[in-house]
């Protein structure tokens, strides 16, 4: 009885622009509880600094310009690695999706390489490139390559053959067939690859910077550990979370713009 009574009220609670707000309720709640626990002395600040202390550390680093420099350096490495690895992965995905010969030549090799965890190559990469920029970019590119390669290939292979037949009947050239039928058909799958790749991109970069770097976010965190600046360590971790979210939102926006034809993206 009381449950049934409460139902309409629950519905009435829904605000007009609630969707954008609802997703932030849980992170905000965690932040509030965290601050309360630290202020009340339940958690020792040597284990976990209060959010206010982390914010303060962030403010100090921002004022010295150190924070912006490190974020920029990390972002730049991530972007270059993503473009190189993603570009090569996309090219191989296209080639192997469209050509039997290319697929026979390279797919088996690529699948074998894929099964090596790319972070296991860090010692080798350090020996090859030292702790130079090249080492980090190489690792990011390698990590990003496979999700994009596999999803591009899958997208092209699963384009509806009936649509391809239709295109041929209506006299489309190979190029038109690609730009009007095959590529748009593969695009949803390519986006799945991009979103996977963005996750791997950050992961790889942070690990690489933590192990071997003299600048960047991962380096900042390791440096802070040396000096027991736990607030800076936590700050770095929070920045990773924010950057990851940002990259994901950007790819979602791009998806929404290019896949507006897709039933899943149509507003009703």
């Amino acid at each position: 009885m009381s449950l049934i009574d409460s139902l309409p009220r629950v519905r009435a609670l829904r605000l007009p622009r609630a969707d954008g707000f609802v997703q932030w309720i849980v992170p905000l709640a965690i932040l509030v509880i965290w601050q309360a626990a630290c202020s009340a002395g339940l958690v020792p600040t040597r284990v976990l600094p209060a959010p206010s202390d982390v914010a303060l550390a962030g403010w100090k680093l921002a004022r010295s310009g150190e924070l912006a420099t490190n974020i920029w350096v990390s972002f730049w490495r991530a972007a270059i690695g993503f473009v190189i690895g993603g570009g090569i992965g996309f090219a191989f995905g296209l080639a192997n999706g469209l050509s039997q010969l290319s697929s026979k030549l390279s797919d088996t090799t690529l699948q074998m390489v894929r099964n090596v965890p790319h972070l296991a190559l860090i010692p080798l990469v350090i020996l090859w490139f030292g702790i130079d920029e090249t080492a980090k970019i190489f690792l990011v590119a390698l990590g990003v390559f496979f999700p994009i390669y596999i999803n591009t290939l899958h997208g092209i292979r699963t384009v509806d053959p009936q649509l391809i037949e239709m295109g041929r009947i209506y006299g489309m050239s190979d190029r038109e067939l690609f730009t009007r039928v095959i590529f748009p058909g593969a695009l949803p799958s390519i986006f799945v690859g991009i979103r996977f790749a963005l996750g791997i991109m950050w992961l790889t970069l942070i690990v690489a910077e933590t192990i071997a770097a003299s600048s960047g976010l991962g380096y900042m965190a390791m440096q802070a550990r040396e000096f027991m600046q736990i607030d800076v360590v936590v700050l770095s971790i929070l920045i990773y979370a924010a950057l990851g979210k940002l990259a994901d939102s950007a790819s979602r926006l791009l998806e929404r713009l290019t896949l507006s034809w897709h039933p899943a993206f149509q507003k009703h």
């Binding site: 009936q162 209506y170 039928v181 149509q266």
Partner: protein
């Protein structure tokens, strides 16, 4: 209406066929702008692996005729249509279209609409123009074709928001926009509900009468065949088993006794071979 049923022997001597054709052309004056192409098939054979699907098809279809091809599933009727449309390679025999026909003059419509989901309705219709798509008049022609199938106001929509019948009408507009001279339909209404089917049948009949193309309709639905076609070809075991004229006035009254009687006798012929006469009786009662 016994005279509506004229069963003929499948393989006639060639000289006689021509005489019969002349008589048929006199009986069926070409429609509309006389755009249809005649179609002559001689000794057509097709195998997939060891399985011979078509074992010698001989038929002449005069320009502008509406021919329905019926048969049980797997009898080779769809293969025949795919060969006519140039979608499969011919093993033996010939298919000729009177004059030197260009590939773009022969169009196919499938059971699935096969619209590009990422192109708006109007752009999908423009696909039907083939290489003429880039000409200045392309959009106007596409709009006209869309209006012809009654979807003039849907040009800016995504295909995903259309109903099954509307999608199939867009596919029809795409086939019509290039002014085909032969239009082959492979079960185009098979996936639609009963009421949509009937309105689509009317639409098909209307555009065929307006444009005068040669229509070849593959269907498993005998009532659809007798409602639409001038002539019904029954295919059994890869051969034309019966060639039936449907001499009835248009527009035909659906559900009329004459159509039902003709449908019943075709169904009986179809089912006789497999020996299940009982179900033939059941069907003809419908």
């Amino acid at each position: 209406m016994q005279e509506a049923l004229q069963f003929r022997a499948p393989a006639e001597p060639l000289d006689r066929t021509d005489l019969v054709e002349q008589a048929r052309v006199l009986r069926h004056p070409p429609h509309g702008s006389r755009r249809g192409l005649p179609l002559t098939i001689r000794g057509l054979r097709k195998s997939f692996g060891d399985h011979e699907v078509l074992r010698g098809i001989d038929v002449h279809i005069p320009a502008g005729q509406f021919v329905a091809i019926v048969g049980r599933s797997g009898c080779g009727k769809s293969t025949l249509l795919r060969l006519i449309a140039g979608l499969e390679k011919i093993d033996a025999g010939t298919i000729s279209f009177g004059e030197a026909a260009r590939r773009e003059e022969i169009r196919v419509m499938f059971q699935e609409p096969r619209l590009l989901p990422w192109a708006r309705v109007l752009a999908n219709v423009e696909v039907g123009l083939g290489r003429e798509r880039k000409t200045a008049a392309a959009q106007a022609r596409a709009e006209q074709a869309l209006a012809e199938v009654g979807l003039a106001e849907k040009g800016g929509q995504w295909p995903a928001v259309l109903s099954g019948g509307q999608k199939q009408r867009v596919a029809l507009a795409r086939a019509l926009v290039g002014d085909p001279r032969v239009l082959a339909f492979d079960e185009p209404l098979g996936a639609l509900d009963a009421l949509t089917r009937i309105s689509m049948q009317r639409l098909l009949e209307r555009v065929w009468r307006d444009q005068g193309f040669t229509a070849i309709l593959v269907t498993h639905d005998v009532s659809e065949a007798v409602a639409l076609a001038d002539r019904v070809l029954v295919i059994e075991d890869g051969r034309i088993a019966h060639d039936i004229d449907v001499n009835m006035h248009r527009p035909r009254q659906r559900g009329s006794a004459d159509l039902a009687r003709l449908e019943g006798s075709i169904l009986r012929e179809l089912l006789k071979k497999s020996g299940d006469e009982q179900s033939a009786e059941d069907q003809s009662v419908l």
